[in-house]
């Protein structure tokens, strides 16, 4: 499993130091000295068909319309279709070109979308191998995403819990967990988020050299909850335990409940947040719900993003609310950095 260095999956100290300087600039569109995607947002959820792509696309549009510079990256390698949700033809340049190094920079494969402020990196691949990029390729991609000079890089993740998917999720500032109020989706979402969490444990332990310690501890015992794990680590090595706790506490998915049909469905978001805290001792933020809306599939059929096709639809308003919350949260985050 140890495949080389962990690059920025856990932000290193110097990366963290660099942040405040970026944040200290006015949050408008002034150029920063080192370009950097202000926020990386990834949309995952484990199960297929729960609306990850549509949420990515519509959220991207909502953010772009609020004056944010957004690049949408179709990270569903092998199942890419974001261009379709945006009503675009298959772009000439795609991630394959970047992964195969036909182009050097990720910016070179960004296609215009016809929507101001919004670019698309299509993930549609000709090259089958590119669907499962090697570690180094994935790291290069992540590095380039992190270095893009945009306000938001939005990654549409594939289904499942492949490590490629998890790593994109973990590297994000906002890991958006999509859930549909159905047992199957709930099950997969928990599996996804737990897998992401344990991968983070692994990453943190690699970065700080706790692997042996953890290996020892996990031998013969399986830990259901982070609380137990950290408690045990603390017993062995208080300092490592505290550090681990800090890093794991930063694992904080943002929840979106999609296809909500009743008020009760929407309430479920709060229940999931509460249950996650109760059982796992970890936090999650409920970004909001998106209504189940017939306009949604109608828009998909005509290959037009809902936000453009039916801006007043109930689901569209859900996207708008979530975009507002994200921006507000990020603004206040930057304000906190400045202070």
């Amino acid at each position: 499993m140890a495949e080389g260095p962990i690059l920025k999956l856990v932000k290193s100290d110097d990366a963290a130091v660099a942040l405040p300087s970026g944040g200290s600039r006015p949050p408008s569109r002034t150029r920063r000295i080192t370009p950097r995607a202000r926020r990386i947002l990834s949309v995952g959820g484990g199960k297929g068909g729960i609306g990850k792509s549509l949420i990515s696309a519509n959220l991207a549009i909502a953010l772009a319309r609020r004056g944010q510079r957004v690049v949408l990256v179709d990270a569903d390698l092998g199942g890419a279709n974001l261009h379709t949700t945006l009503g675009l033809d298959l772009p000439r340049r795609t991630l394959s070109d970047f992964i195969d190094r036909k182009v050097e920079r990720l910016e070179d494969v960004v296609s215009p979308t016809g929507i101001p402020n919004l670019g698309l990196v299509s993930g549609a691949l000709d090259n089958l191998e590119a669907a499962t990029p090697k570690h180094a390729q994935k790291m290069r991609l992540l590095r380039h995403i992190q270095a893009m000079d945009v306000d938001y890089a939005i990654l549409d993740l594939g289904a499942g819990t492949h490590t490629n998917v998890l790593d994109f999720f973990l590297v994000s500032d906002h890991g958006v967990l999509v859930l549909v109020p159905e047992p199957t989706a709930v099950e997969n979402a928990y599996r996804f988020v737990k897998a992401a969490f344990w991968r983070r444990v692994r990453n943190v332990s690699q970065v700080f050299g706790y692997e042996e310690l953890l290996h020892d501890i996990m031998q013969g015992a399986s830990f259901r909850s982070p609380v137990e794990l950290v408690a045990t680590v603390v017993e062995r090595d208080p300092e490592a335990g505290a550090n681990l706790a800090n890093h794991l506490a930063a694992f904080r998915p943002r929840l979106v409940v999609n296809q909500v049909r009743t008020a009760q469905d929407a309430e479920m978001g709060h229940a999931v947040v509460a249950a996650w805290r109760k059982y796992f001792g970890l936090e999650m933020d409920y970004l909001g719900a998106i209504d189940y809306d017939d306009e949604m599939w109608r828009a998909v059929r005509v290959r037009r993003p809902l936000l453009l096709d039916r801006p007043g639809a109930a689901a569209a308003l859900g996207f708008e609310r979530i975009a507002d919350r994200l921006i507000a949260a990020d603004e206040s985050g930057r304000a906190a950095d400045r202070a």
Binding site: K11, S12, V17, A245, G333
Partner: protein, 341 residues
């Protein structure tokens, strides 16, 4: 964040230690609905043992915290003075980390039931999710690494104190809650039990709902924490017999005849409306009302009714088998006399 077994009853139901009874009753209902076995939000999230433990602690909270004298004894034991802990408000959450260590203190004096410092942590851990989404929000994840202080806020904080706890936990956890749990079953009035903290381990289980009982194999899987396991193991056997008895004041004699009226009273004592039960059991309101009103003729054939009543009974934390048998026995003559459709 503490392990379930380490959380105070207030933390379990996510209210401040100063909460009024009405608020506590609401919180118990909310917690039962949110974390209960039938909740979609917890589907596959937690193990059966954890779910069972949490359910039992919620019921325990209902029993203990809604009884003024039991509550004051409990408060004393965990070191909360009535007006002490009022402000576990939202803001407290981020701080959880810091207070935690303090909480650890109670541990050592395992034998003595006098942990005084715990109060702060409660507040911190407590408060339901809905309330405070905003505060810790923005900064956390991003530079998590650099700013430890701030980040510590979310979840894990409390964890850091475990070492002391680990050893000590068992006592507080078991000592406090169980006493109560047990008694009601035994048909003792709630208060007395508290003193009997002697047989903690065995005492606690009673409250635990069916789930545990159903999978006796369960307990072992959780290898990590020695303590919890011990508890769970002790629990299982006892459960089997006690399942029947509602942890509430309702003292149901063993040979009780289960009429619709009885079921209604149990439901009401659980603070559940017909609507809520209908939503959770998927039994239609119509059937539920007819069951409670003993409108036998309007009910489906016994073959179907049996299953319906069993799931209703389970929802009310009663022994499904017994209740169904008793109920069907009562209506037996009727249906025989005039076979339905």
């Amino acid at each position: 964040m503490k392990r379930l077994s380490d959380q105070t009853l207030y933390e379990i139901i996510e209210v401040s230690a100063a909460a009024a009874p009405a608020e506590i009753a609401r919180a118990c209902d909310r917690a039962a609905a949110t974390y209960g076995p039938g909740s979609l939000a917890t589907y596959t999230l937690a193990s059966a043992e954890e779910t069972a433990l949490l359910s039992s602690r919620i019921e325990e909270a209902r029993v203990v915290l809604l009884d003024a004298s039991a509550r004051s004894r409990y408060d004393e034991r965990i070191g909360v003075r009535p007006h002490d802990a009022p402000a576990p408000a939202p803001a407290a959450t981020p701080l959880a980390l810091t207070p935690a260590p303090v909480a650890a203190a109670p541990a050592p004096p395992a034998s003595t039931p006098v942990p005084s410092p715990p109060p702060p942590p409660h507040g911190a851990g407590g408060r339901a999710g809905q309330t405070f989404t905003p505060p810790p929000w923005p900064p956390p994840e991003v530079e998590a690494v650099s700013t430890e202080a701030r980040h510590s806020s979310p979840g894990l904080p409390v964890v850091s104190q475990p070492p002391p706890q680990a050893a000590a936990e068992p006592p507080p956890a078991s000592a406090s809650p169980q006493p109560h749990a047990g008694p009601p079953l035994a048909s003792l009035p709630p208060p007395a039990p508290v003193l009997a903290s002697g047989e903690e381990a065995s005492a606690q289980p009673p409250v635990a709902p069916a789930p545990l009982a159903t999978r006796p194999g369960g307990p072992l899987p959780t290898p990590a924490p020695p303590v919890p396991i011990a508890l769970t193991r002790a629990v299982a056997p006892i459960l089997l017999e006690n399942e029947v008895a509602p942890p509430r004041p309702l003292l149901v004699p063993d040979g009780a005849v289960w009429s619709g009226e009885m079921l209604r009273r149990v439901r009401e004592s659980r603070g559940l409306t017909v609507q809520q039960v209908a939503e959770r059991t998927r039994i239609t309101r119509h059937h539920l009302e007819n069951i409670e009103q003993d409108k036998f003729k309007a009910l489906p054939a016994p073959v179907y009714l049996r299953g319906i009543i069993m799931s209703l009974a389970r929802e009310l934390r009663l022994d499904g088998q017994k209740v169904a048998r008793s109920y069907l026995d009562r209506m037996g003559p009727v249906t025989d006399a005039e076979p339905k459709r």
